[in-house]
Point group: D2
Chain length 339, copies 4
C-alpha cells in the first residue's frame, strides 16, 4: 500500500540527510547559538532582502504558532483565522491553551478575505469582548489553495490600517512560492509581520524557520521560546537543514516537484468529471468521490478521508511531496482513468 496521506510520511530529503550526516561529529554550542543557525539565518535574510529580520528555528508548526502568537498578543487579544484554520481546528486548542481566543471567519476557497476580517473587527467594539489583534493565514491554505501576491498585499494593507498584525503559517510554503502569481519570499517579508518557512513538510527531518520582520516583535523572543519548550538543545540540526534547503533553490525544486505530481493527479480526476474541491495547483488534491471509487483506490493507495459530503460521496485528500514516487503517481493516474 502506497501512502498519499501526507507530505511527512518519509524522513529527510537526501541532500538534507547528507548534510546532517556530514556534520554529525562536529561539536557546537547548543540552543541555536551555533554557526549553522547563523548561516541559515544569513541565507534567509538575504533571500528575503531584509537584514533586520529576526530568524528563529523551531521543531514543529504547532510549536511555532503557539509560541509566536502568545508572544505577540496581550492577554485579552485574539487572533483571526478561517473556520478551516489549522490553529482553530487541528491543534487541540493550543492557542486557547496559551490564553487567547481564535476568532473565526468563513473561508473563501480556504482563504481569509479583507471583507471577512473586517466583519470581525467591526463587531468587536468594547472591553466586554476580546480585542482582535492578529490575522493568521496559511500559505498554502489548509485546502490547498494559496494567496496571490495581490490578495496578500490587500490583507496586509488592511491590517496595517487597523492596527493588526499579520502572521503567515508557511508549513507548505514551498508549494506556493513556485506559483506564478503567488508572493515571493521578498513579497511575503514586505507584506507580513512574521511568517514561517516550513521544513517538516518540505524535505526536512523536522523544523520550521520563523521569520519576524516587524522589529517591534523581536525583543526577547528566545525567552518565550524557552518557556514554551521550543528551543531545541542540539539547535544546530535545524541550522544545518535550513541552510541546505535554502542556500540554493532546493526548497523551490521540492515545491515544483510535488506540485507537478499533484497536478497530474488532479487532472486525471477532472478528466473523469469528479468534483475537485477548491481546485489549485499545489500539492494537496481534494476530490469528492463515491465509496465504490474510493474502494478501488484503497486497494493500492492510502488517502485521507476528509468527510462524508452526502450519501455515498466522500471527500478525500491526496498529498504529494519531495518523496512521492513518480511511478506510483502514474499508477494512481491510470487507476483514476479506469474508475
Amino acid at each position: 500500500m502506497y501512502s498519499f496521506l501526507n507530505d511527512y510520511s518519509e524522513g529527510a530529503h537526501p541532500k538534507v540527510l547528507k548534510a546532517l550526516i556530514e556534520t554529525n561529529d562536529e561539536q557546537s554550542v547548543g540552543y541555536g547559538m551555533d554557526d549553522y543557525c547563523q548561516k541559515a539565518k544569513a541565507v534567509i535574510q538575504e533571500r528575503i532582502n531584509n537584514q533586520n529580520a529576526d530568524v528563529h528555528f523551531l521543531v514543529g508548526g504547532t510549536q511555532v504558532n503557539l509560541t509566536f502568537i502568545s508572544y505577540v498578543l496581550k492577554d485579552y487579544q485574539a487572533v483571526i483565522a478561517t473556520d478551516e484554520g489549522h490553529i482553530h481546528v487541528h491543534e487541540a486548542g493550543s492557542i486557547e491553551g496559551t490564553g487567547h481566543k481564535v476568532l473565526v471567519a468563513p473561508h473563501h476557497f480556504g482563504k481569509l478575505t479583507v471583507e471577512n476580517i473586517e466583519k470581525i473587527v467591526k463587531s468587536h467594539t468594547d472591553e466586554h469582548m476580546v480585542q482582535p489583534k492578529m490575522v493568521y493565514i496559511s500559505q498554502t491554505t489548509e485546502l490547498g489553495t494559496y494567496y496571490t501576491k495581490d490578495e496578500l498585499e490587500k490583507i496586509y494593507a488592511y491590517t496595517k490600517k487597523n492596527g493588526l498584525y499579520l502572521f503567515m503559517d508557511g508549513a507548505r510554503l514551498g508549494s506556493a512560492l513556485v506559483q506564478n502569481d503567488a508572493p515571493s519570499l521578498v513579497d511575503i517579508a514586505k507584506n507580513t509581520d512574521a511568517f514561517y518557512i516550513g521544513g517538516t513538510k518540505m524535505g526536512a527531518l523536522f523544523g520550521e524557520a520563523l521569520v519576524i520582520v516587524n522589529p517591534l516583535l523581536q525583543s526577547d523572543f528566545r525567552y518565550q521560546m524557552k518557556q514554551k519548550g521550543s528551543i531545541l538543545a542540539k539547535g544546530r540540526l535545524l541550522g544545518v537543514q535550513f541552510y541546505t534547503l535554502l542556500k540554493n533553490r532546493l526548497y523551490e525544486e521540492i515545491g515544483e516537484y510535488e506540485n507537478q505530481l499533484a497536478i497530474s493527479i488532479r487532472k486525471a480526476f477532472e478528466e473523469k468529471n469528479f468534483n475537485v474541491f477548491c481546485p489549485s495547483s499545489t500539492n494537496q488534491v481534494f476530490v469528492d468521490i463515491s465509496k465504490e471509487a474510493l474502494n478501488e483506490i484503497e486497494k493500492e493507495f492510502m488517502v485521507t478521508h476528509i468527510k462524508e459530503i452526502k450519501d455515498n460521496v466522500i471527500r478525500i485528500r491526496i498529498v504529494t511531496s519531495w518523496a512521492t514516487s513518480q511511478e506510483q503517481v502514474r499508477k494512481l493516474v491510470h487507476l483514476i482513468h479506469q474508475l
Copy 2:
C-alpha cells in the same frame, strides 16, 4: 431619562439592604466561613432538596463562569455554548484566558439543542482537536428565552450519556423559575452538574450562588476560587444577601414582578405589530423598530441598541427588574401605543 438598560442599574432590593444594614456591625470570620454563609447554604440545600450539594458564593457572573469552568476542565477540554452565549461573546475571552476553547453552536431561540450539541461532539474525533467536555447554558438565555423542564431534561440526559458535564448560568434565574413550564430549583438540581443562582441581576447588591450538585466536582473548589481571586474577604455579605433572597419567596417575587412589567411592554409592541425577537415572558424584551420610533422612545427612556438589522431597523433591548417603576412602564407603554 429613565433607564431600561438593564437589571443592575440600582443598588439592592430594600429587604436585602435592610439585612446588610442590620448585620453591619457584627463580627464574623472572613472568606465565606461565617454563619450567614452557612445559613444561606442550608436554605439552598433545602430548596433544591439535596443536602449533598456544595454551595459557594462569588461576587459576579464572569467570575463564577471562569472559576468553575476552569476548575472542571482539563487543559485540552472545551465547553460548548451558543453563538450568543455570554462566555463566548461578552466576557472578553475569560474562558480562553484560563486556557479553554469555547465551541460554538448556532442558537435556537437563544437555546442549545441536543442536535446542535451532538454535531459538535461527533465532529471532535481525536487528539488533534480539543475534547468537548462541558455544555454551558443560560437560564434565562441571553435572548430572554428559557429552557423548559422538558428541554433541560433532554439536554442533561444527552450529556450524561456522552460523558459531558452540564453547567447552567443562572444570572437571571428568578425570571425563569416563575414560568409554568420551566424547571424548578429541584428540577435544575436534578438535571445539571452545577448551576448558579444569580443575585446581581435579581435584587442583590452583588453576588452569585454557585451550586455544585455533582459530588465529583466538589473537592478543593475553594482553592480554585482563591487562586482566581473569587473569594470575598467579607464573605458574610454574600451569605446575608442570599439568605434574605431565598429563605422565603423574595427571589421568586422579584422574578414575577419584573416579568409582569416586561410582558406589558412586549404586549404593547406586539399590538403595534412590531417584530418582537425571540418572544418570551421573561424580563428582557427584544424588539425591532425604526430609527424614528427609537428616537421617540429615547426622548424619555434609555434602552440598549443591539444591532442594525437592516436599513432603518434597529433591534433594541428593554430590561425590567425588581427596581423598575410601574409608573415608568405605564409611560413607556403609552408612548409605544402612540408610535
Copy 3:
C-alpha cells in the same frame, strides 16, 4: 469572644454605609462607567496631584494583584516579592495561575531592600531563566512594618535604572499614610508605577482603588479587568465608597484610629517584656507568647496563631481596625498586664 483576628471582620464604616444607603435607589450605568466612579477618580487624581493617573476600582486585593501583574508582564517575565509577600504565600498561586513566576527574596523586617532585589536581578542572566520585570511591595507589609519615604525612593530609583516596574499593594495603606516618615499619597504616586489604595481593610464594605501612574501601563486595562472577572456590574458601589473615604480625611482618620489602638496593645506587651516581632506603629501586632499566656488571652479574645516559634512559644497576630472597640482594647491591655 471579641475578635482581633483581622481588619475585615465587620461591615462598612458608618459613613460609607450611609453613602451606600443614600444612593441605593439611583439609576446608573454599570461596570464603573458611572458618575460616582468618575468623582472618586477625580478625588484620587487630586490627592496624588497627578491628573494623568488612571484609576480603576476592583473588588478585592488578590483580584487587583493578579489582574494588574498579568497585564504588565509578558509571558516570560517575573515579579519579585519577599518570602512573606502576600502574592507568594497567601493567594493560592494566583500569580503563577496567570503564568508568571514569583521570584522570592528574604525580607528585612517584612520589607524588600535594594540589595536583595539586585541579587535576584543579577542572577537572572539569559533566556534559560525568567526575566525579572516587576517589584511587588506591600504598604504596610505583611508583618506590619512600612517603607519610609526614603526607602521607597531608593527602591523606585533602582527599578527605574534597571528597567523594572514597581507596584505597591496598599491593602492597609491608611495605616502607613499617617506615619511621620512614610511616603504620602503624592510621594507614592511619584515613586511607583502603580499602587492600590485598599478599601476592604480600611472601612469599605469591599473594594480597592488601583492607581496606574505610568502612562505606558494604562492602555486597554479594562479589557484585562473584564477578562479576569474583575469588573463589578454595579461598579457605582465602588465609586461611592472611595469617594466617601477619600474626599476628606476619613481614610487617614481610620488609619490613625486603628494605629493608636494597636500601639497601646503593643506597648502593653513590651512593658511585660514579651518579644514583639517586627515592631512598628501600624495596626498589626505580632508578638511571641507562651501557650499559658495565649490560653489566658483566648478566654476572652480571638487572635491569629502565626506559628510555633519554639517549644511553648507561639507567635500571634492581633489586628485593630476602624471598628475595633476602645473598651475591648482596654480590657485586652488590662489582661496583658496581668499575664
Copy 4:
C-alpha cells in the same frame, strides 16, 4: 578548542544515526502512531517489566516537564523541586507558564529529602496557599549526584502516604542506571508515578521517552501533548532512536563510557586537592578552581562557569558524553596534574 561544555554538543551516536539513515525512505504514519514507536514502547515495557505502563516520545526535556506536569496538576496544585531543580531555575518559568507554582526546598547534594519535602507539605495548610501535589526529582541531579535505590524508595513511600505524585526527570538517566546502588529501570518504574528516559543527552539526535506508570495518569495524554506542541509530525524518528538505544544495552554502555571518563577527570582534580563539589561518579564534574587554573584549562578546553564562589575561586562544570574523545580526556587529565 575542545568542548566539555555539555553532553549535547555533537549529533547522534553512530548506531542511532545508522538506524535513522536506514529507515529514512520508509513511509509511516505520523504523530507517533507508527510501528517503530510501538516497538520502542514494547522494549521499554519489557525492560521495566510493566506491560501497563504508557510510553510517549517527545522531543526535549523542557517539553516533557511542562507537558506532563501541567497534565497532572489541577490549577491550584504545585510541584516541589530543589532550589537547583531544572524546572525551577533553567526552564524560563515553563511550569509557571502553564499556571503552576514550583515550591522550592533546599537541596542535599542536589537531592530532595523526605524531611525537606515534608516541611513544605506541612506548611501548606489551607486554600489560601497552593496545594503541593507532585514531587519532581532529577536522576542524575543537576549537580551530578544520583538517588540511591533506598533514597528513591523512601521518597516514593512518603509521596504515596501523602497523596503526592512522584515524577523523575531522567535527562541523564543512563549515567545513573549503571551505578551499583542506583535504582534500575524496574526499580524506577516501581517507585515513581512517571519518569522519562532521556535521549538528547544520551546519544540520540533528540528525544525523551516519557513512561507513565500510574494508570490514573494515562488517559487522553496525547491531547495534552498536541495542545502543548509536543507531538512530532515524523514521530517515527523518535521510535527508531529509542528502539536502537534500548533494544540491547547501548543506553547503559553510553552511561558507563561517559562515567569512566568523568571519573578520571574528577580523580585528577582530587589528587591535586581541588574542591570537588557534590562529588559523584556520574558524567558531570563540578570543581572549584582559581582563575589562574581556569585560564590554563581554557587555553585548550571549553568548560562551563557556574559561579564565583569567592574571590578568585570559580566553580566550573565539565561534562562527558558518548562522544567525548578519550584522547582529549587524557590531555585534560595531564593538564590538571600540571596545575
